[in-house]
Symmetry: C2
Subunit: 177 residues, 2 copies
DNA sequence: TCTTTATTAACACAGTTGTACTATAAAAAA
DNA sequence: TTTTTTATAGTACAACTGTGTTAATAAAGA
């Protein structure tokens, strides 16, 4: 996927990349859909694990939350390949009859996690609707992921971080900076 | 594209949908890339035209701006198919060596237009970086487009409008409501 | 009327796709 | 040792892909 795009992710190419024959690969995965589903869930799990690890570290909350959000984006993730591949699957799902559920999206879980943490810390400005703010942040993350992948030059890692900081500041109280 | 997804957009299927033979279609478009480029630009142009039309209407600025932004999203556009197809092309571009330039994206032009209008009207809060706010709004629009297409049930048209209104209010002065 | 151009259709070619089936080798169990 | 799983590889098939070529038809111009 990273080298040849979605079209290159054929069963044959994947088998070749894995050093297996076509028959061998199909011994483990009886269909392409099964293989794709496994990969999709694997990527989601890895992202979730990485996010949990950051949350479990002993930094201050502000740093944690920023680091988590940056970890979800292709340009700024230390994980490297996973957020990019996740977006590939996401765009692949933009197909009739192939819609993947949101709940199994590690990024959505991470965003919800970030928001409930901000709420628990009493960082959120008054009169904000948490549901709407969660979906707004989730959309921002997905949009940044898409844009930074399509236009890495204009939307650099530093730029992405600036935008996320601006957004966080806009939903957090003045005192938190 | 709308019926069978990106994979269904083969030269043969398009010819059939257009009521032409394969040879006839290739008389006008010598390659698939040429055909795709034409369609991509056509969609972008239509969106731009629609946006210009709204800006040229005689409503009050607040209404215009909201209407323009809603027009860029699949669920809320009165244009109907174009924003959805545009997103298909956008996700199609998430492929190595196939990156389409941002400048020819009608949606990006529209967002820039919205921001400079807000600035001209003196609606924007003080101390905001216009460049960053433009990219933030552009990412939000693309994210909303992606999410509402993948999850039309949770992210309904009304919900999308609420989110956009919240975002506009967050970057505009208190007096503008 | 004759000739040139525009338009349509049909077929062929080489390549790729997902899937199914079969034979072979290694490992484990009896 | 024999038998049964586990694992790997190879091949075949039908369907599709983009592209190229060639023939036939309609329209327009000289």
């Amino acid at each position: 996927m990273l080298e040849q795009g979605i079209e290159g992710a054929s069963v044959r190419n994947i088998a070749k990349e894995a050093g297996l024959s076509l028959g061998s690969l199909r011994y483990y995965f009886h269909s392409q859909e099964e293989l794709m589903k496994y990969a999709r869930e694997l990527v989601s799990e890895r992202i979730t694990q990485r996010v949990d690890k950051i949350f479990a570290s002993d930094k201050n909350p502000n740093e944690k939350i920023l680091e988590v959000l940056l970890e979800l984006l292709p340009q700024t993730s230390k994980l490297g390949r996973e957020p990019k591949v996740r977006l590939f699957f996401k765009t692949l799902a933009v197909q009739p009859e192939k819609t993947a559920a949101v709940d199994q999206d590690g990024v959505y879980l991470a965003v919800k996690n970030v928001m409930s943490n901000l709420l628990l810390l009493n960082f959120i400005k008054k009169n904000l609707d948490i549901g709407i703010e969660t979906e707004r942040l989730y959309a921002l993350i997905n949009g940044l992921a898409l844009n930074s992948l399509l236009n890495p030059d204009e939307l650099s890692a530093q730029r992405v971080e600036e935008i996320i900081l601006v957004h966080l500041n806009s939903i957090c109280k003045e005192s938190v900076k």
